[in-house]
């Protein structure tokens, strides 16, 4: 294991880049784009260092650092990754440079756009790396403002409404989490601390656990989002600029599922166990409802947004069924959804750049005019549907398998959701790409350009890799997944597991 602080550099490199970009001239658009690309690419390279030094056999936290921040108040700067957060850190650092590439169409106010994007990346990476609740909360809030500005300043027609809704929903949720964090802080015996690993295993009565679980759950459920707290999502995703949609769907939603895994379940295992049926019901409602609403969408981007609700329903389902397959599948599916939905938003953005419309009805027959783009779109669509051989299949199959072991009959509506996904995605695909070219504006469109290949090819490679050879991914996920599952299964196993988790 290396002592080089890879992880901390990954977290703060984008912020440093953002500060440096402040000194670049605002007129040099190309320079600004390449600078942002360089910073995010460098961040990704350093994050590969995290990956390379990650010890597969260790289910604890690794590669982080620990320092005092506000010592009198028990606040520390503590970071680290395990088999869950490792993938989310990598996903973030992998997708941000691609989001930068997807932002070539931003031509106005380019400098602040990239500065906010980089600040957002630091916030997201910080959320996934923090092992101190105070630090976690600060990073959680750090993501709020840049995303708000990205939606509000560079979004589409209804952007202001979407941005306000996004901000207020998240803020309201996060305040409940704040109260729960602070309660936990004082509930721990002895010297109060915000150190996550010391807070694990805090003995709490069931009543208190229920309340605190609800506090965390409210915040994360808004972020995931679980029905009925999802209403901000279609607006925010649809109105955001392409890079914003990509990062919202691929990374920001995962902050919610990650929070459930990292905090809500391990800190309050008894309450979590008790809540399983409710959460699973919400997840299933999300799967079916998201899919049904997606079928009816006229707006391509809104369709992808609703598909996110359905997919995230699968993730939450897998996480709460309490089987190792479900948990591993849920974690893997977080990455899968990030890749395929991220790519879908990039592709919808590419279509928008060509035609300046998001309405499905304005397209038709694009397979004839832009055959390569159509092929790529089909590939990503298949991944999102869960075609065997691509990544979505592995995740969804594991989730359904895990659900079957745990709750046989719950699989029925969940599987129904898979079928619905095929319906809305393929139907949309048919209307956009197949058939005759009815609209003359579609007759002569440029096909994929090099930049678009650069942003989509890496994603497609990973989609295929996870689809045919998921072992390296699952190997790293499973030890950490097992630990969380054990907390959901049997209360008698909890103390031992907690002991093991304590201390870096």
């Amino acid at each position: 294991m290396s002592d080089f602080p890879f992880l901390d550099i990954v977290v703060f490199l984008p912020l440093a880049g953002a500060l440096l970009m402040g000194f670049l001239p605002k007129g040099k658009v190309a320079l600004l784009r390449y600078a942002a690309l360089a910073v995010t690419a460098a961040t990704f390279l350093v994050s590969l260092g995290v990956f390379a030094n990650f010890d597969t056999s260790d289910s604890g936290f690794q590669l982080g650092s620990s320092a005092e921040w506000i010592p009198e108040w028990g606040v520390g700067y503590i970071t680290g990754v395990d088999g869950i957060s490792l993938w989310l850190v990598l996903l973030t650092s992998f997708l941000t440079p691609l989001a930068v590439l997807a932002s070539w169409s931003v031509t106005e106010r380019v400098k602040p756009f990239f500065i906010f994007l980089l600040a957002l990346e630091t916030g997201m990476l910080g959320v996934f790396s923090s092992l101190d609740m105070f630090l976690f909360y600060v990073f959680w809030e750090v993501t709020l403002v840049p995303m708000y500005l990205l939606i509000g300043m560079w979004g589409y027609a209804n952007r202001i409404y979407a941005a306000m809704k996004f901000f207020l929903f998240t803020l309201a949720g996060s305040l409940l989490m704040l109260v729960a964090i602070l309660y936990l802080y004082f509930a721990v015996g002895g010297e109060p601390t915000f150190n996550y690993q010391e807070l694990l295993g805090t003995p709490l009565t069931l009543d208190v656990q229920r309340l605190l679980f609800l506090g965390f759950f409210a915040s994360f459920a808004v972020k995931v989002p679980l029905v009925p707290l999802h209403t901000w999502l279609p607006d925010a995703h649809t109105e955001a600029p392409t890079a914003g949609s990509v990062l919202l769907a691929a990374v920001l939603l995962k902050m919610g599922t990650y929070g459930l895994l990292r905090f809500a379940i391990p800190l309050f295992p008894d309450a979590a166990r008790e809540m399983v049926p409710i959460v699973m019901t919400l997840a299933i409602i999300g799967i079916v409802y998201g899919a049904l609403v997606a079928i009816m969408q006229k707006d391509l981007k809104r369709l992808v947004a609703y598909s996110s609700i359905a997919h995230l329903g699968f993730v939450v389902l897998g996480m709460f069924v309490g089987t190792i397959q479900g948990m591993s599948g849920g974690i893997l599916q977080m990455v899968n959804h990030g890749l395929s939905t991220g790519a879908l938003f990039m592709l919808v953005g590419a279509l928008y750049d060509r035609r300046h419309t998001r309405l499905i009805a304005d397209y038709g027959g694009l397979a004839k005019t832009v055959p390569v783009l159509a092929g790529v779109f089909l590939f990503v669509t298949m991944s999102s549907i869960g075609l065997p051989g691509l990544n979505g299949f592995v995740g969804e199959f594991l989730i359904l398998l895990g659900t079957f072991f745990g709750y046989q009959w719950w699989v029925v509506p969940a599987t129904f959701g898979v079928v619905l996904a095929a319906i809305y995605l393929l139907w949309a695909y048919r209307r956009v790409f197949h058939g005759p070219v009815t609209n003359q504006a579609n007759a002569a469109l440029p096909d994929m350009e090099v930049r678009e290949w650069l942003m989509l090819a890496p994603v497609m490679a990973l989609i295929l890799l996870i689809g045919v050879y998921p072992k390296p991914f699952l190997d790293r996920i499973e030890p950490s997944a097992e630990k969380v599952v054990s907390q959901l299964q049997d209360s008698s196993m909890i103390p031992g597991q907690v002991e093991e988790a304590g201390g870096p």
Binding site: W69, I70, P71, E72, W73, V75, R109, P112, A119, F134, Y137, V138, E141, V142, L144, V145, Y148, L149, G152, M153, R159, I160, A163, M164, F167, L168, L171, A172, L175, L176, L178, V179, L182, Y183, Y185, F186
Partner: protein, 489 residues
């Protein structure tokens, strides 16, 4: 000679070093007043650099006292970590206010010399109140803060709104002083002393009804000064009528002065009977936050918006006082530290917001929120700074407002007063709405005018320093939390 008389005129020993900040400040105030007489009409502005030099000198005197703990003037004046922290804060706020005032008063050719003199007098009152440890000096310090304030509000004497504002301020101030004095006289009657520490020891259990009554009067008096709901009616009209830099002063330094006096009084004299007054503060806090925020939602004028937001913000500080419970010293310390942290951060970020509003109004003189549309495209730096201060007031990064809110929430949870935590949470979301509404105007809408807003260097520097301080406090909160911890009584 009558031996009794000889004894009674014995002077208490005076520790001149402990008084150094006050002496420098008072000396500067007099110097400014005299210098103004001899300055030619077009050089009146020199009063401002003179005042700035005086405040910097005061700050140096405060720094020279660090780690000093002493009392002088027969126990009525105490220098400790708490008083030094607030003296330092008043100096910093004073410097920023000077920077905000300079162009405003110079361009308007108002009574520059008089204004700076009055401002220094008010700041002098702030320095004294941080150290005042008996009822009389506390009262005098409080009046020293507010009476020059009344005159400053009325400086634009041709303006009807200014006169209305000053008159309202004057009437409410006098009324609150009378109520407060009545309460203080009752305290003296019950305990036989004006020294806070003696009051604390001599409050007996049998005196409760009278003590409760007197504390109640004192609290109401302070509630006027800090514009807590339902004693807030003067504030928005006064702020709107006053020259904007004066509104900035009233909303920050003057209000903080009132809170400092309140903290001193409550924690030095009445901590033992906290169970009688904490519920009063709880009601005041909940009302102040909620009413302030709800009215702020409807404001179209930036200064009025900031006035109501300032009212709501003081609710969070009142929460800290509502948490005090004689049986839980740990939680009390947390609450006290949270109040100190909140006051310091609030002062800087609110002043920053006022500075931005003043900067925007310099050309065209408009304060209407609708005129802020698209400020981002006209003056990105001004918009970013203003946005930063507003988002910080809302309690989100990248400035220290988040830290202030976190500590108040933490104190509330530790004291187990959950209903107040819920009230605060709801209010934070309501407040976010109107702060965001202004940010939305500045960043998301298109401007009607294209020309940039020119911001003079001095104002930019003031905003830049405030922003830098706030960012530093978020990145490394111990800069402030250590001081707050040490200043706990």
């Amino acid at each position: 000679m009558n031996p009794l008389l000889a004894q009674s005129v014995t002077q208490p020993s005076v520790d001149w070093h402990a008084l150094a900040p006050e002496l420098v400040m008072a000396g500067t105030a007099c110097l400014v007043l005299v210098a103004d007489l001899f300055l030619p009409r077009n050089a009146k502005w020199i009063a401002m650099p003179l005042s700035a030099a005086g405040i910097i000198g005061t700050l140096a005197a405060v720094v020279s006292l660090i780690n000093t703990e002493t009392t002088t003037l027969a126990g009525t004046f105490e220098v400790d970590a708490f008083s030094l922290l607030f003296k330092g804060l008043f100096c910093v706020l004073g410097l920023i206010i000077l920077a905000i005032s300079f162009h405003y008063f110079r361009a308007g050719s108002y009574y520059q010399g008089e204004y700076y003199f009055l401002l220094l007098c008010s700041l002098f009152g702030g320095l004294v109140i941080a150290s005042a440890r008996d009822l009389i000096s506390l009262f005098i310090a409080l009046e020293l803060i507010s009476i020059p304030g009344i005159v400053m509000v009325a400086l634009r004497k041709g303006d009807a709104r200014a006169n209305e504002g000053a008159l309202k301020f004057f009437l409410f101030s006098v009324l609150s002083s009378a109520v407060m004095l009545y309460g203080m006289s009752l305290v003296y009657g019950v305990t036989g002393s004006t020294i806070l520490s003696e009051i604390r020891t001599s409050i007996g259990s049998g005196d409760e009804p009278l003590v409760v009554l007197s504390v109640f009067f004192v609290v109401v008096g302070f509630a006027f000064k800090i514009s807590a709901v339902p004693f807030h009616f003067w504030a928005p009209d006064t702020y709107e009528g006053a020259p904007s830099p004066v509104a900035a002063f009233l909303s920050t330094a003057s209000k903080i002065g009132g809170f400092v006096g309140l903290l001193v009084l409550m924690f030095k004299a009445f901590p033992e009977v906290a169970d009688t007054w904490a519920p009063v503060f709880a009601v005041l806090a909940a009302l102040t936050m909620t009413v302030g925020n709800l009215i702020a939602l409807r404001q179209q004028h930036v200064i009025r918006l900031l006035a109501y937001s300032g009212i709501a913000q003081s609710g969070y500080i009142l929460v800290c006082l509502a948490l005090i419970n004689p049986g839980n010293p740990d939680a009390n310390e947390q609450a006290f530290a949270a109040a100190v942290i909140y006051l310091a951060i609030y002062g800087i970020m609110d002043l920053g917001a006022f500075a931005a509003a003043v900067a925007f109004a310099r050309r065209g003189g408009t304060y209407f929120i609708s005129d802020y549309a698209g400020l981002w495209q006209r003056s990105p730096v001004l918009a970013l700074l203003f946005g930063g201060f507003l988002i910080s007031l809302a309690g989100a990064p990248p400035m220290a407002g988040l830290i202030a809110k976190l500590f108040v929430f933490a104190a509330t949870i530790e004291a187990e007063v959950y209903w107040l935590a819920i009230v605060m949470g709801v209010n934070t979301v309501i407040a976010a709405w109107y702060y965001l509404a202004l940010i939305k105007k500045m960043f998301f809408e298109t401007p009607e005018l294209d020309e940039p807003v020119e911001v003079p260097y001095l104002l930019s520097a003031a905003m830049g320093i405030a922003a830098a301080l706030l960012v530093a406090l978020l990145v490394y909160p111990p800069l402030l939390t250590n001081l707050a911890d040490r200043s706990i009584f």
